[in-house]
């Protein structure tokens, strides 16, 4: 099981954002994708999930050898690709339990597994909640409605735990979290690390990587991966900021950190 991104270009509303991404993630690996604001980190995450706002203009993405870009978003989800949203969406009037059961059964059906009935579903979900320390009251609340920022992100991790994806993309799940919430999210990810599951952690800060130690760190700048390295690359970035990485062509650009 492998994700292969080859010379990927993507645009939104006519503006090119990704300018030739090459990336390979193997099963069991945790990759962190870092970079300054506007570098294209979240765009890459959303393109992989099939967000309709983005158009792929060149390149390809292979998932288990299959053309991921030819699949609609739900087929990608059913093929094991999960994205934790940067801004989880509210669905008023639909309980978390109902939503998650429908999602889980859609994913299971596509894998040829039987649908879970209400009791089996609740058993599965209770186990996951216990592991993640998520309050059961969450199940009866409408999806993300009235949730605090931290609750929304925890709900994403909880959904991930229930859906058991093979590729989990976390789109700035750590942003806006206090340290306790961050630890809970990190714990969720660590608990789910296993040989047949890969992670792509999109993050602006090194902070999350104190708790989830990545195998590889990539730095994105202006739509291209400009550096890749081990976990120490994240620390280097923390120290020096993003400015020193920018391509010479972009001289004079901001030196955000």
């Amino acid at each position: 099981m492998k994700l292969r991104i080859i010379k990927l270009h993507a645009a939104a509303a006519g503006h090119e954002i990704l300018r030739g991404i090459d990336l390979a993630i193997d099963a069991g690996e945790v990759h962190a994708l870092m970079g300054p604001n506007g570098s294209g980190k979240s765009t890459l995450a959303r393109v992989l999930a099939g967000h309709p706002e983005y158009q792929v203009t060149a390149g390809e993405v292979l998932w288990d050898g299959a053309n991921l870009l030819a699949m609609d978003p739900e087929s990608r989800a059913r093929a094991g690709v999960f994205m934790a949203f940067q801004y989880p969406v509210e669905i008023p009037g639909v309980s978390n339990a109902y939503f998650l059961k429908a999602a889980l059964n859609a994913v299971r059906a596509s894998r040829g597994q039987e649908e879970l009935d209400a009791i089996e579903f609740m058993t599965t979900v209770r186990n996951r909640m216990a592991e993640l320390g998520v309050d059961e009251a969450l199940l009866n609340r409408p999806v993300n409605e009235g949730f605090s920022g931290g609750e929304k992100k925890r709900n994403e991790i909880f959904q991930m735990a229930v859906l058991e994806p093979r590729l989990a993309i976390l789109d700035e799940t750590d942003s806006g979290l206090d340290i306790d919430a961050l630890k809970i999210v990190a714990h969720g990810v660590n608990a789910m690390r296993q040989a047949d599951r890969a992670f792509l952690l999109v993050t602006h800060y090194q902070r999350l990587l104190n708790y989830v130690v990545p195998d590889v760190v990539h730095v994105l700048s202006e739509g291209k991966i400009v550096r890749s390295g081990g976990k120490e690359l994240a620390l280097e970035l923390e120290e020096k900021g993003y400015g020193w990485l920018e391509a010479p062509a972009a001289a004079g650009a901001s030196t955000g950190g």
Binding site: A12, A13, A49, G50, H51, P52, E53, D72, P73, E74, R76, A77, R78, F82, M83, F85, P88, V89, E90, I91, P92, G93, V94, Y98, F99, L100, A102, A103, L104, A106, V107, S110, P142, Q159, L163
Partner: protein, 481 residues
Amino acid sequence: MSTSTQTIEQLATREYKYGFVTDVEQDSAPRGLDEHIIHLISEKKHEPAWLLEWRLKAFRVWQTMKEPTWGNVKYGPIDYQDIIYYSAPKKRPSLQSLDDVDPEIRRTFEKLGIPLEEQKLLTGVAVDAVFDSVSVATTFKEKLADLGIIFCSFSDAVQEHPDLVQKYLGTVVPYSDNFFATLNSAVFSDGSFAFIPKGVRCPMELSTYFRINARDTGQFERTLIVAEEGSSVSYLEGCTAPMRDQNQLHAAVVELVALDNATIKYSTVQNWYPGDSEGRGGIYNFVTKRGKCLGVNSKITWTQVETGSAITWKYPGCILMGDNSVGEFYSVATTNNWQQADTGTKMIHLGKNTRSTIVSKGISAGHGQNTYRGLVRIAKGARGARNYSQCDSLLIGDKCGAHTFPYLEINNSTARVEHEASTSKIGEDQIFYCRQRGLTTEDAINMIVSGFCKEVFRQLPMEFAVEARKLLGVSLEGSVG
């Protein structure tokens, strides 16, 4: 978002699965309307003289009335002389046995999922099946009769319980009420009658299923439900019609009377043919429904799920006369393609401490136009009256419309009236979120819409809530590409 219109614009043709025609011999009146036709209808039904007189009075008033134009709906002129006002299957079943129902008609109802054999019915639901102008079968009559409950076609009620009919007919919706109700009073053909005696809780859901079959006919049914002191009943109606290019008129009247401490729950799942994706054909659903909470502590609840019809024009209301009486209105109205709905309620508070609740959910897709129009009137003497209204609109796509016209007339300073309104759009981001979790776009829309309508669905009896949810799915099919 740049692609939201692109995704949402593609309107697929919606399938209306009830659009078939049944081939039965019809006994129809000639086209057009004059006093002869009214005599003919009354004669066909062997009606007593007082009822013919009542019809004629209505007809004379109707001739002086003008079709209302204040509704937020657009349609071409209706030629009232080009409509057939009475049509009935030729073979009339004997009233004693369901076995005598014409097999073709029986098959029609089976196709619609309304089996007329009692043993096949869901226990707990008695059905009166109305085919074009007449009732063809009523189930569980005897079982209900043991409790003193009368549930039969309106025509049978006129024959068998004329005193009750005469006592209550027109007491809630007078024959001169409005253009369409007055027309109905003149030409109504059949409908259901239910009477729940003192202290009896009706043990099963009463249900009428209306089916328009014949071409160019209007359907003018009339339903009357009376709940005596301390009784309660839950009543459901469902409706379908064949697909035809021409518009067909449906102008029904429903009257409910609740005496002291009585409760009536009236639920409608309306799925008349809505017309095709170009806006051709479909039913004009111009209906007057009103309940009178005559007694103290009485309660009337209207729940409606309106997914069909080319045009819907209806305002099920409550006249809260008895002190402490309660009126409720829960509505989901969807308009897709070129459908138009102007619907809402009237809550008229007359008694002290009367309370009303209005929850209206309008869903517009395609080129659909959805209007909520509601009146809350607190009379001078209605001390301590309270109303809560909530009107929410959901838009799917960018060519549809939602409109809200709340009217408040408050003549008592102790009244408390609250009104909340919201309009939202199903966002591309909501759909994408659901799809990212493995759900299809259709499933996502259904889920979002169900969530939006939850407060109303909660009011429906269990099986019907499931039906309504499915129906809503079908009705919005193809609204998002």
